[in-house]
Amino acid sequence: MSFHRLVPAIVLLCVLSATADAQDQRDEQFYYPGKFNWAFLKTYPEGGRLFNAFDYGHAVLYERLLTKPAPEREAALEKEYQFLTTNLLIRPPRYAVAEEVIEPTYAKLAWRAKQMFDWAHVLHRQIYDIYADEGLDPAARDTLIERVTDYYLSRKDYAFTAAPKSMVLMDEQYFSQGFRESHPKFNGLIWAYHWLQVGLYEPLIIGTTPAEKKAGVKATLARFWTMLEDAPRNFPTMMPMTSAIAPRFSAKHPRAAVIFDNLHMMHDIISDILVADTVPRDRKRAVIYAQLAEFRNGSRNVISMEEWHHMAEMMGGINSMGGPATGLLEPPPAGGAMAGMQYGGAKPVPDTSAHAHPSALLERPTIAPPTHEHGAGLGSASDSSEVVALVVRFDAAMAAGDSAGVLALLADDAVILESGGVETRAEFRSHHLAADISFARAVKRLRGPIRVRILGDAAWASSTTTVEGELRGRQTNSVSAELMVMAREGVAWKIRAIHWSSRNRRPPG
């Protein structure tokens, strides 16, 4: 090779050497193969797609924390929060988001951290896929989950340890807690993500049939959506611990559960490092990488498994972490779970409420759990579950085009108020019912929480639903309010009145 060809090569090598300490290798590795992969996205797209939106949320958070100066961060995060909660979470991407597109500066700064998170997220999703694969029996599922966990841990340079790390690492370092103190609302959203990411394992374990699992997943998703209502009032105030939110999963697969807690701690630690003035910009990468090394180490700053199991109680109990993913919810404290934190605009709500058992939400489209008013002489949780179930059956019959099913739920003297008119049951059958069914079948509906109140043998359920879609060439993007009045007839509830109204929605910002 001649000298003039050698010079550029030498220059290139010098540049490479000089910058080698700031370079990471790509180091991507394929995940564990098997037919189970993608079963969750296929069977539970409402959950699988939501995780894609969560990836965006995590990524954009780091990018904004890293690139925005402190005075501009809150406004930037608020803008992203609005985009997430009014747009991306409602219409999440079909497939995973290329995070380096969303967090280009952060990915260049700390690629290894991104890879470590990606690798743990792969484990998260594969376990969901295993639970969603109906071709596997419970024993095979448990064996396979341990196998994919082995595979995950075999990559020692990128795996979080399966030994529980001390909370001291998250809470008591010189940079700790800065993010949650300066940006509590976004922090609450991230914790709500983490709550759902571990909480969704529970209905998949509890359910014994595909229908039960589906209903349980929808109910857990509904609880997540409830957290987003009136935010940040209902967000977790403590980092959700897998042992508390997913106790059955944690008992079956403690290694994976610990890995996820370590992952979620590391999420918070990186947020703190990025926001901390005490970590100068040119030190952030080194500090992040030191923490990654700490979280790969299973012998330093670890706690016992017994301590880990009791950690949630020590941190304030499950209710401070967003509540259980399944089963009955305890009434939140007055003013909401976040009442003790300083949030602008958070309004205490005078009434306390409880939530019906999610078994009442069988085959319900994405609906938040119902609330019902407590008080002497008022209905039981069982009553409210039945009322919610009636709303759900009515919805399902409309969506299925089952006009007979719809009419069977209406009392003989039922009245339907819509479009400025009042119709009897018979008039509804011959006039509006067909159009309402066509509409219900043509559009995508996302119902918010159903509020149920019961007084003796009378009950009323109110809710709002966002409606999007196209019918006969016309685009619809609206919010619909619904009030159903029901009465108990013998042992069953019947609909005595329905009132619908709607308004156009503003396009999401």
Binding site: V15, L16, T19, A22, Q23, D24, Q25, R26, D27, E28, Q29, F30, Y31, Y32, P33, G34, K35, N37, W38, L41, Y56, P93, R94, Y95, A96, V97, A98, E100, V101, I102, P104, K108, L109, W111, D150, Y151, L153, S154, K156
Partner: protein, 273 residues
Amino acid sequence: MPSRLIEMATIRIMLILAVVLAAPSVARAQLDYRNLDDDRPTLIEDAYPVEHYAFELVAPWRYSRARGAPGGVHAFIPELEYGLFSNFHLGVKLPIARAPTSTGPEWGISGVRGFALYNFNTEGRWLPGLAVRADAAFPVGTHAGEGTRFTAKVIATRSWGQSRIHLNGAYTFGTDRPLAAADASHRWWLGGAVDRTLFRQSALLIIELYALRPTSAEPVEVNTSLGVRYQLTPLAVCDLGIARRLRRTGPDYEITLGVSRAFALAGLLPGRP
């Protein structure tokens, strides 16, 4: 091998690949649409290899028609890549082409190509992602040209948010001999491409400009291409590209259509920790 037999074999290979590509195995998936492979749908590739332990099966078809040529060339170029080590993959291509001959268009194998790509680094604050690739094209088949050719390529990828820029430069060693009818190793080529990720649609748009000299005796071509890669399912990516010459020589038009799928074999993965 007679052209008719090659044609039949090509159809069989395409059918087998179609079955494999449609099978419910595992794929890296979801983000494959961002992996720019060479010639799919544009000439330029990105600096990143397939993942460690991953196989990627690629089945592209191309039709190319050069200015003044008696007929176009159909090429079916099945390709298999394997992430043998971290940041390193090996691959093999078996181009099969239907090209004009003195007795009319005939099907024939257009050489066998083996290659290896090594990525030095992912992009950081200062450096782009950098990779080198080495190809060996062997003269196997009636449309393969003459002689074994070795090509070295340097690849760089740099991103700005949703957009990336890729630079590729390749040089083929050895004497000038007749080239293969499809997937030929040109004396040199140099090109740049810009792509844009549409993350909600899981799609990638690409535009490229490149210059190449097929052999030392031929003029330099300057061509441009447009392409799109789209994540069809979590398991499969399809791509579509068109190219056109900007000077007197080069393709009047070239159309590329392909589908790819990644998978892994559990038996090749590491055991317990």
